[in-house]
Symmetry: C2
């Protein structure tokens, strides 16, 4: 029989989750951490809600934990920072299986072990809906911070990988008749925070953000913050989806690929592309404020933020 957390009780549950925290952190009102001297603190936070951001149908608990961490580390990567640690706030109904909680923490732990940082604090509370709140802290030299606001007319726009894979994987998870492509499903369940590339490009990037809310949203936000426009000339569509009828939408609006979208001077790009062959030039920063798709494979269009995911209105 599946054991539920209401049966385990709070002391048992605390013991379970503390196995995933460094021993020296546990037991005080707050965690004490040291930064590398003269580095700035970088902070980001995400809230994930059952049936809004994950579900048993598409994401086993190990993947929920991994994704929650990866999303936050991706934000740190986009700032040029490296992770120090995370806090985990969990809201859970009493009838949550103990196994679910354990796999969730194992997923967070596995992602942190691979990319850096530790679970340094948290809160466990009763809630009618499973809710995972992550806050991640990183550190960065103050003069190496990447922001969204520095893009210059003439810069190239470069991404760290194809876009739309996560959305395509989600489609298959929601409707197995569509296929069972392990690479796409992996992209949805186990995204990779681009910390190494983030560290490397920060010497060259004029602006950067991650593509958690989609490629179109990222380019639009970079342009808005930098008061420039853009032409997207080569959508970074996934190789195995070239002929898929929804590939344009998924690439532009799918979201959750957690790649970096980077602006940089053209002469800096070629060296980086040799170093990281997965990087692709997708377009160029232009004068004005219009963000336009001019990829010969698709009808031209002007992009706008209305298509971005609206958290408080259900998608039509």
């Amino acid at each position: 029989m599946t054991q539920m957390i209401a049966q385990l009780g709070e002391p048992g549950l605390l013991q379970l989750v503390q196995r995933f925290c460094p021993a020296e952190i546990v037991g005080d009102d707050a965690a004490v951490l040291s930064l590398i001297p003269a580095q700035s603190l970088v902070v980001t936070t995400d809230v994930l809600v059952d049936r809004v951001h994950f579900s048993d149908r598409t994401t086993p608990p190990h993947s929920v934990g991994w994704r929650a961490i990866a999303a936050n580390l991706s934000d740190l990567a986009a700032m040029g920072a490296m992770p120090i640690g995370v806090t985990v706030g969990l809201g859970l109904p009493g009838e949550t299986p103990v196994d679910w909680v354990e796999a969730l923490y194992q997923g967070m732990w596995d992602c942190l072990r691979q990319y850096g940082g530790a679970i340094v604090g948290g809160d466990l509370v009763r809630s009618p809906v499973r809710t995972v709140s992550i806050t991640a802290f990183g550190q960065v030299e103050p003069d190496k911070v990447m922001r969204r606001s520095g893009a210059q007319v003439g810069d190239l726009i470069v991404v760290t990988g194809a876009h739309g894979r996560s959305r395509a994987g989600l489609a298959q998870l929601l409707n197995p008749k569509l296929g069972d492509d392990r690479d796409l499903i992996q992209a949805h369940q186990y995204p990779v925070p681009q910390l190494a590339i983030g560290q490397r490009i920060r010497d060259f990037a004029t602006a950067c953000m991650d593509s958690s809310d989609g490629l179109a949203d990222a380019v639009l936000q970079l342009c808005q913050q930098s008061q420039v426009g853009a032409q997207i000339t080569q959508l970074p569509i996934p190789a195995r989806l070239t002929d898929h009828p929804q590939v344009k939408d998924w690439t532009l609006y799918g979201g959750e690929d957690f790649e970096l979208v980077v602006c940089l001077a053209a002469d800096a790009a070629s060296g980086l592309m040799r170093e990281f062959p997965q990087m692709q030039i997708v377009g160029r920063i232009t004068a004005g404020t219009s963000v336009e798709l001019h990829d010969h494979r698709f009808a031209p269009e002007i992009l706008s933020r209305d298509r971005s995911f609206q958290h408080f209105t259900p998608p039509s």
Copy 2:
């Protein structure tokens, strides 16, 4: 007619909450903050859920915001730290009134303005239940950190104020027939984080924690972490509740008073008590591991953590 956040839409909601954030923070994947050189980072987090930790019956949204911040700043105070900033993760149903969200942020802002720190980041997501996740960061000189584990046999146990006021205020809010004592209701709705006393006592304290989960829980945890026992000889009961039949329970187990419970050598106590007249000696650290109540006004008893609030099992 009350406007709901689903009608406002995400861009409007973002604009609303960003009014409460420093302008230089808004617009990137993460916030960048500077610590005072050579100070350690202190991190703490709390998740608050509608009808579990607050309700429209007992806490208007301004108070929900204030309490959420005060609880986290209280944890920083207990570590001897001063606040830098907080992140706010909000899960909200679409049918949440815009006014509710605005008052929540106003309450957070008012508490931060008074005690220090700013809202430096956040996340707004759709959720079937109102959920407020706060992570607070502070800073402290590494050699001034107060922990739970340093209490010594013979230390005095001192608190920064009476206990049970918040619980008594809650009782009146839940059942107005019991009274309408503004002081008790204020204690419940607008607790005060003891940052100033935290700064002052850290030169003397051998151990400290806050009493968010009740006085009994705090003394038990301090004793457990320090491997000592305690005798509580003078319960810090609120003056106006002296003759109340539930005063002993509320003082020991009520929780949410957010006072500091401090262990320190007897010779350090008298000067501090003159400086902060609201501080009270409640007992003494003893050898062994037993935590006992020996207050002549009440029957003696041995305290245990079983009585502490169990988050995942409803109180009997």
